[in-house]
Amino acid sequence: MTAVDAPSETRGPGVDGPGPGSEWRPGLRESYLFDRNVIAEIQRAAREGIYDIRGFGAKRRLPHFDDLLFLGASVSRYPLEGYRERCATDVVLGTRFAKKPLELRIPVTIAGMSFGALSAPAKEALGRGATEVGTSTTTGDGGMTPEEREHSQTLVYQLLPSRYGMNPDDLRTADAIEVVVGQGAKPGGGGMLLGHKISDRVAEMRDLPKGIDQRSASRHPDWTGPDDLEIKIHELREITDWEKPVFVKVGATRTYYDVQLAVKAGADVIVVDGMQGGTAATQDVFIEHVGIPTMPATRLAVDALQELGMHRHVQLIVSGGIRSGADVAKALALGADAVSIGTAALIAMGDNSPEYEAAYRAIGSSAGFYDDWQAGRDPVGISTQDDELAARFDPVLGGRKIANYLRVLTLEAQTLARACGKSHVHNLEPEDLVALTLEAAAMARVPLAGTDWIPGSRPG
């Protein structure tokens, strides 16, 4: 929980919980390097002898879509009339090879989150909400549950290195297959589900004893490198008779090359997950120090597709820190075909809600700070396998909240697209954007606001 650069006095309780803490007074100067959170983490490490494992995504401040602004229409462009003129939001994923591409009504999908990491009712709620608004959900590292299949009209089935629960029947009932190479929270890292979240059902699905720490491998067991991946994708297509779109998901690092190699390997859809992407259980050091942010990753992915002449032929989904319709619209303007949400979906369902403050305090956290998704003690009943806690979560109400939230994201994105004069959210383009900061201008490759300067694009 080493927040990297937030002002220390605004920080929440450290890993030791909110107990009697120190208090800033004039004249007391806290070290920037060794602030209270750093002190707490050093002392926790000394006491426990194990790195900090937590959920959530990167907490440090990172260049993000907030650093971009839209240039609304004015004299040189004219806008569309809100509520009257249509601004379409549909997206088709998997047009390259699949016999049955996914046809989604909105360009926001639900990212892969496992049954195991999440409770069964939480998974059900994601399916209900996504189905209500016409988008997809995704399985996770733990296989597909019948409830998930039942409640998700469009379900993407992940093929992960662990292959927990993998079976050809589920592969054939899926609507798309996502080969997971990595995720933004931990590119190059494997998965982890700690023993206390391994219920009988989770253990059975994963063919492992109950109560042990389940490590997921970081590399696939039967392929290595892009040439093998191409053959692996071919096998998946053969097994499913070329019906399903095959996605390849990568954590954002060397995104330009990864995307080109994934295209070469035959992907229908590429998913790029930036370092803000969430996780159920990962070392804090991994979450905060590996990968690149979503905004530059989007730009690199689009560059790679455009250079190959495959932009819009191979669809691009970006994820990692998508919170609002503005984030959606900016990702699309940079060239993504859709975005995925994970952390925001959990929050929409009630994670970190002040409503549960007393319960969060009882487990040493506080609403707004809770990130111990690995611990299985989630008072909201989302990131747990405890039946009693999970029973607190109403999947019908949760589904309604997801649907509402997805609608708001879509409406907000449409609002911005109409303001830029676009009749489809996919018509948003980099030319509609400017950057507020030099770093965002350089990373997104749009001009610094009020200038025509894109750092690095030309001398001076």
Binding site: N167, W223, E238
Partner: protein, 236 residues
């Protein structure tokens, strides 16, 4: 198989003339409608993804070498390869039987969840990696990191095993007749008791391999890495 092969003959498919896609589709269609119970595939020429995804009680005999992922995710079928096989043979097999006369490349039987994989020759690295219930019998030797993170099922090696056998192993059982170049993290030799001899005898018989269970040694998990302890940091 319901009907003995000798009585029905083989449906012969020559991959020199028929596209792989067409063959696999016909094999997949057997899960929905009845068709020939026995197939003979000619001229595989190292094709990848051959006979993968079958979900039917049929016999498929392949005359020649195959590439990657032959019989991948197999259910119920018996697939025989009269030749060598590339990487990922019978990966994630659910049930049925896959038998290779020759040698196989790495990751044979990877993540397999059931059924029996028999390799009469040698298997390369990572044989039985992440196995989840499959039984693998290798007549020859296996390469390094075999049974890496093996969860359940058995790996029987009649020859030798390479470095790091059973690294990070869970509950799978490993039986090796020859030498083991080295055991991986948390993998230890265990006593070969009568129940193991019986299991081993059954597997050898099912695989059609003539070997004496008493000549084997058993390896499995010390279960020291099941829950993280900093004292074991050197093993991670």
């Amino acid at each position: 198989m319901a009907v003995p092969v000798e009585e029905v003959g083989f449906e012969v498919v020559d991959l020199g003339e028929v596209p792989l896609r067409e063959l696999n589709q016909r094999l997949h269609d057997l899960s929905r409608e009845p068709g020939p119970p026995a197939w003979r595939i000619l001229n595989p020429n190292g094709a990848h993804a051959l006979a993968c995804g079958i979900d039917a009680d049929v016999e498929v005999e392949i005359q020649g070498h195959v590439g990657y992922y032959c019989a991948g995710m197999n259910k119920h079928a018996t697939v025989g390869v009269h030749g060598n096989a590339g990487p990922g043979l019978a990966e994630n097999m659910m049930s049925g039987r896959v038998v290779v006369d020759g040698n196989v490349s790495q990751s044979a039987g990877a993540t397999g969840r059931g059924g029996l994989l028999v390799v009469h020759g040698d298997a390369s690295a990572r044989c039985g990696i992440s196995m989840k219930g499959i039984d693998v019998v290798v007549g020859g030797s296996v390469g390094h990191l075999s049974a890496f993170m093996a969860q359940t099922g058995c790996l029987v090696v009649c020859g030798d095993a390479g470095e790091a056998l059973g690294d990070s192993i869970y509950e799978a059982r490993l039986y090796v007749r020859g030498t083991v170049a080295g055991l991986g993290a948390d993998c230890v030799e265990k006593e070969l008791r009568d129940e193991h001899r019986a299991q081993l005898a059954g597997l050898l018989e099912a695989a059609g391999v003539d070997a004496d269970p008493d000549d084997f040694r058993r390896y499995g998990s010390a279960r020291q890495l099941y829950n993280f302890r900093i004292d074991n940091a050197g093993a991670y």
